[in-house]
């Protein structure tokens, strides 16, 4: 089964990290990724820019409306995702636990099975 593992956290806390801490977290998460990649289980991984860089397109009465900012104002923000191919939900949960252990923040990982997946080609 293919799963997306979605990372949610308080953006204001994560952006208060020092550069050193941020680098260390990325390296620690990278180490977890590396093991799953070597086992052929890891698909695309992305970290999103801050929500302040986002715009949101909504249906309007006549034309679509482009609004500044993320879709939802929430205490935790959607910060990034991983795609993995594992046999069981338990294995997906283990992966999320490993990410969580590598990540000092009190964030949350949502595990969501994929219904449709297009891995895409290399981006030029």
């Amino acid at each position: 089964m293919l799963y997306a593992v979605l990372c949610y956290d308080s953006e204001s806390e994560v952006s208060a990290w020092s550069k050193e801490l941020d680098d260390k977290v990325m390296a620690d998460l990278g180490a977890v990724n590396q093991r799953y990649a070597e086992a052929g289980k890891l698909g695309p991984v992305a970290r999103l820019m801050p929500t302040t860089a986002a715009v949101t397109v909504r249906k309007g009465a006549t034309d679509d409306i482009v609004m500044d900012g993320p879709f939802a104002e929430t205490k935790e923000q959607f910060l990034g995702f991983f795609v993995i191919q594992v046999e069981t939900l338990e294995e997906a949960i283990t992966f999320a636990r490993e990410l969580s252990a590598a990540n000092p923040a009190n964030g949350t990982y949502e595990i969501r099975p994929l219904q449709f997946f297009n891995p895409g080609g290399p981006i030029k």
Partner: protein, 418 residues
Amino acid sequence: MTELAWIDLALTSARPQAMGALLRYFRNLDLAEEAFQEACLRALKNWPEKGPPRDPAAWLIFVGRNSGIDQVRKRAKHQPLPPEEVLSDLEDTESDLADRLDGAHYRDDILRLLFVCCHPDLPATQQIALALRIVSGLSVKQIARAFLVSEAAMEQRITRAKAKVGAAGIPFETPDAVARAERLGIVAAMIYLVFNEGYSAGVPERADAPFCAEAIRLCRLLLTLFPSEPEIMGLTALILIQHSRLDARFDRQGQIVLLEDQDRTLWDRGLIDEALVLIDKAIRHRMPGAFQIQAAIAALHARAKTAAETDWLQIDLLYQTLERLQPSPVVRLNRAVAVSKREGPEAALALVEPLADKLNGYFYFHGLRGGLLKQLGRYREAHEAFDRAIALATTPAEAAHIRQHLDSVQREMANAEK
């Protein structure tokens, strides 16, 4: 990360919202700060045992508010109560907290907190110090070190600034749209001051230069609160691009490396990309402003793969637009740099010379003028200009940079005499 370090981060990130709300309740900076401190102490005791609250800011506001009310009551036993209106609505402690924390106020709370730090009677350095102390929560020691003054002197400065703000009265009414826009503009200018203080301090060590990082944090905070303000996008983009060059701006000896000589692979592409997105977003609003134009100029530098590929024509045009929007001798001076690249030092010098009266006490004026005179082979005048510049240098790196110019001018003069 240890538990304490995590709590520390949570307190730091909740601080602006919590302080803003406490200031609204107590209408007194000192009382709000004491209440916040007390709430933090309780958090340090309480959170490790019971786990972090779902909403740290709400927790801190609730606890801080109650402890502040206790304080006011204790003091009231020793001195007459202040007038009722000063105490705001202290009595309705039991009124539903949820209603007060639903976010209806928090934008204006945080804006007010930033705004009181920008009181026009406060000199720039005091505005910066106050904002870093009150909003960012940097220690007096950290701020004092960055300003190269003793902790006691900085403590005194901040106390005086607070007294001035208190005497002026804190504008606690909810601003209307016009007043809000005005506050936002003033706060943006203050944040840029904070950034520039860190930027021009020229300390290559990240740990010693928290001002730039704080300014970025404040920008992002403002942008979260006011997501559709193109000038705030512009300011954020401008700061991000300038900060992206941190690792390239100094060599190993701490000497300044000029933009054209910098190793561009050392620029932080992540920060630049974020800035470019923000500029794209800002442009969609079709409401040009000074920060957006400056960000666009910075972006042209950031986009050039080598110094030679810099689009000086575009930069010159953008400076001309900026001058129309915000005429200032410093903008004219910056434009002169673009002109010198396009048309040569003579044309640039013609722009620079008339600024002498207004910029006589400005380091960069004499630095640029000296550089142009040197290019024109007018070494004696260049020497005089660099002499003036070095006297106005505020950091060792600035002085060392001008010293190099002086040395090379002296060599040229000696050669000429041979």
